[in-house]
């Protein structure tokens, strides 16, 4: 959790300045001469035109296969521009989206899973920014990572919610920290959907006047401080799952850029420095070190994906980052206990300073990663 401020990644849902705003789909014949025809089958994804002008683009989709399919338009880095799920066998649907000039991929996903059968298309008109395929791959891989984190989080969060709903205090306490790991690893993405973070990860001191306190930390307080689960908490557990599902669904649309990834990594370390090292984030459960590791892991993932480019532009920087990531992880290892970490209230001032120094040592060079990628 952090206070509202500009994020490295912005959500597509929010504004109209982004590539696609409408993705309305309807059953229709859709054989107008302007429409791009997409013929999907179990093993093919045929596109009638691979080059078409920017603007409101109409996609006429026909599923000739036997499996239920999906059609996506992906911008570089696998950002979803528009999509249509659940296109049954033999169905025709029409999708309209506003698409800016650039290169895209149209994907059909027979069976509604996997990477899909993809077809490259070029949207013409206006300036097309020169792209670095290595960086596009980094963004696509990062998006896949963020999606996997969300996907893995849901069952863990469900286990936590179930324990709360059963009124099982001990089981809920045990399930609390693990349910947060995927979120902590990819927090900059989650926070880019401005409305989700305040619902699931806000602390009591972050509430605005009149704002209802929901999410993990409200339940944390009940479990550790109040030591009882109320009827209200059980409702909040359900709400948490609902909000996390919303997050899971929206990862694909997040506008992720290479510099955004780099800055997101740095922001994760900021989170550690301002919230975890101080013990503020998990003030009741004292599971701060679990979050700490999640933040560092997520930052490291971004870094590793950007490293092929960054190491060409600034090899001294990547050498230093490799060293400092290793140093932080080694220091964290000292505090491991069972599946997780020691309670943070047992970590004294001198040890906290040691952790803080290690985070500074990593975060300072990490703040230079964006420039090494943007070069």
């Amino acid at each position: 959790m952090r206070a509202a401020r500009s994020s490295a990644v912005t959500a597509i849902a929010a504004v109209a300045s982004l590539a696609a705003v409408s993705g309305c789909a309807e059953k229709s014949d859709a054989k107008g001469s302007d429409a791009i025809r997409i013929t999907a089958s179990n093993d093919k994804c045929e596109v009638s035109k691979t080059k078409f002008p920017a603007g409101h683009v109409k996609l006429a989709v026909e599923n000739k296969g036997s499996k239920v399919t999906e059609v996506y338009v992906y911008a570089p880095g696998d950002r979803i521009v528009t999509e249509r799920e659940n296109i049954g066998s033999g169905l025709k649907v029409s999708i309209t989206a506003e698409i800016k000039a650039g290169t895209y991929e149209i994907a059909c996903k027979p069976g509604m899973k996997g990477h899909g059968i993809r077809q490259k298309v070029t949207v013409t008109g206006g300036k097309v920014a020169k792209r670095n395929p290595k960086l596009d791959k980094a963004v696509a891989d990062y998006r896949a990572y963020a999606q996997a984190q969300a996907d893995e989080t849901l069952p863990k969060a469900q286990a936590f919610a179930d324990a709360v709903k059963k009124g099982d205090l001990e089981a809920a306490k045990k399930a609390y920290a693990p349910s947060r790991v995927g979120w902590e690893r990819t927090e900059p993405v989650a926070e880019s959907f401005g409305d989700i973070d305040p619902k699931v990860d806000i602390r009591e001191d972050g509430l605005e006047k009149g704002q209802k306190w929901t999410g993990w930390h409200r339940l944390e307080k009940s479990l550790w401080k109040d030591k009882k689960i109320t009827a209200e908490d059980k409702t909040l557990a359900d709400q948490l799952i609902k909000d996390l599902k919303d997050w899971q669904k929206r990862v694909g649309t997040a506008d992720i850029t290479p510099t955004g990834m780099a800055n997101g990594a740095k922001e994760l370390l900021d989170e550690v420095q301002t919230g975890k090292v101080t013990g503020e984030e998990e003030r009741y459960s004292h599971t701060d070190l679990v979050d700490f590791e999640g933040n560092v892991d997520g930052a490291q993932k971004s870094y590793q994906l950007l490293k092929p480019v960054a190491s060409q532009n600034n090899p001294a920087l990547t050498k230093e980052l490799d060293k400092q990531f290793a140093a932080v992880k080694k220091l964290l290892d000292k505090y491991r206990e069972g599946d997780g970490f020691v309670s943070y209230d047992t970590v004294g001032e001198a040890k906290r300073k040691e952790l803080s120094d290690a985070v500074n040592a990593l975060a300072e060079p990490l703040s230079k990663l964006a420039a090494a990628v943007a070069k």
Binding site: A262, K353, D357, E364
Partner: protein, 455 residues
């Protein structure tokens, strides 16, 4: 930096500005290295020094005064940089600036732990620090500046000193005993054999209540300037450059000087309201500096010749109880009058004190060189007020800084006497302590802090 010409004949042209900063490349030395041509030197002996010893007085926790008149000659005299408060103090020289330099108004002092175990990495940092220090003391931003760089990257310089004058910033570097052998007895950098005997762990003094988190340190940097923001900017940027190699262990702000090295200037007052440093060693008094402050070739070690030893003590004052002490008692405790600052029984501040006229426990009497076998130290302390404590008491006092040739003849014997007998002890408590060896000056653009120690 003392054997430089005074800044009178060195017009300072490089005030800080965003555009100027970027026009200076890293390769350019921040100031001309000194020349040994004696003809170019001009020493400006102070009026006090020419008059010889006429004054008197001492101050908190320190010794001063005594001895014969300072003999000045053109060949060995130490010029006092008497500069206006916005000017730049030369960075390069035989001694580090910030010791004999006329005391600036503000302080930010930082002690660092070295976090890397890699000697080469530490050396690389010291080189980078030296370069940054040379730039900042001349009013330039560090690295690529504070603005105008890549939009995607944080600026090299943090920027709060943009548009401010050099403000007589001096950055003085020292090394602590733990750099040579850490607390566990480990010689991390292959320096154990080079540790001078005088760089010891200070003994425990009666009444000490030292906080480990405010004591010690492998390295230190003393930043003094007439503008507090310039001093803080310097420490902040050095700390940032050092991340991953060093970490700040503790730091202390000082808001007002309590000692001066310019005896003809008005003597500053400490937080107890008394004049402090009336008889401090003058920055122009090269004979006294050579005798009491600079490490000489005879004492060594070689890497420290031209350097000094620095004692730092955070001395908390019990302000509230002091304030309700009668004027009579306050003056008796110090051995001076509060208004004029005259020694007890004498009319003027700079009159030679009659120690026997003072109480045996008077601070000035105990700290005076005549009571300490002639021991003198150069004091450069600052008043501090770090807000208030949990009980609402002012967290204030003296951040005592003193330079000397050998602590075993300087601070240690004097403080042993003071800690046992000083009437002032009822109103003060030493809560932080550190000792550093301060290497000689950086000679030019290729030289760096601690070079002689590491090579």
């Amino acid at each position: 930096m003392t054997d430089q010409p005074t800044t009178d004949d060195q017009p300072v042209t490089d005030d800080r500005s965003a555009t100027d900063d970027r026009s200076v490349t890293d390769d350019q030395p921040a100031a001309e290295p000194p020349t040994d041509d004696a003809a170019t030197r001009r020493t400006v002996p102070s009026r006090r020094a020419l008059l010889g010893w006429g004054g008197a007085g001492l101050a908190l926790g320190a010794a001063a005064g005594g001895g014969a008149a300072a003999a000045l000659s053109n060949s060995d005299a130490t010029a006092q940089p008497v500069a206006d408060s916005g000017a730049a103090v030369p960075f390069y020289g035989a001694h580090q600036a910030g010791i004999a330099t006329a005391v600036q108004d503000r302080l930010h002092f930082a002690a660092f732990d070295v976090t890397t175990d890699d000697r080469d990495e530490l050396i690389a940092l010291l080189k980078e620090w030296t370069k940054a220090a040379a730039r900042m003391t001349q009013g330039h931003a560090v690295g690529g500046g504070a603005v105008g760089g890549l939009a995607e990257a944080p600026p090299d310089d943090t920027g709060e000193a943009l548009g401010l004058k050099p403000s007589r910033l001096t950055l003085t570097f020292g090394v602590g005993p733990t750099l040579f052998k850490d607390k566990k007895g480990k010689d991390r950098f292959g320096l154990a054999g080079r540790r001078p005997e005088a760089l010891l762990e200070l003994p425990a003094f009666p009444g000490d209540n030292l906080d480990a988190a405010r004591s010690g340190g492998d390295l230190c940097v003393q930043a003094c300037a007439d503008d507090p923001q310039v001093a803080v900017h310097a420490i902040r940027n050095l700390a940032r450059i050092g991340m991953g190699k060093v970490a700040i262990r503790w730091s202390q702000l000082g808001f007002g000087k309590t000692s001066s090295t310019t005896p003809d200037a008005q003597t500053p007052r400490n937080m107890m309201g008394f004049k402090d440093g009336t008889r401090n060693i003058a920055g122009t008094d090269s004979a006294a500096l050579d005798k009491h402050v600079w490490v000489g070739t005879k004492t060594g070690p070689e890497w420290l010749v031209g350097g000094s030893y620095l004692v730092a003590r955070r001395i908390r004052m019990h302000i509230e109880t002091w304030d309700r002490t009668s004027l009579q008692e306050q003056e008796d405790v110090f051995g001076r009058t509060k208004g004029e600052g005259a020694p007890i029984g004498k009319p003027r501040e700079r009159d030679e004190p009659n120690l026997k006229a003072m109480l045996p426990t008077a601070h000035v009497r105990l700290a005076h060189p005549d009571s300490n076998g002639g021991a003198r130290i150069l004091r450069r302390g600052y008043s501090f007020t770090d807000g208030t404590d949990g009980l609402g008491r002012l967290d204030a006092g003296l951040f005592f800084l003193a330079y000397q040739r050998d602590v075993r003849q300087g601070f240690i014997p004097v403080q042993q006497k003071l800690a046992r007998n000083d009437a002032l002890n009822e109103y003060i408590q030493h809560v932080g302590s550190a000792l550093f060896a301060v290497p000689p000056g950086v000679r030019g653009a290729d030289d760096w802090w601690g070079r002689a120690l590491f090579t």
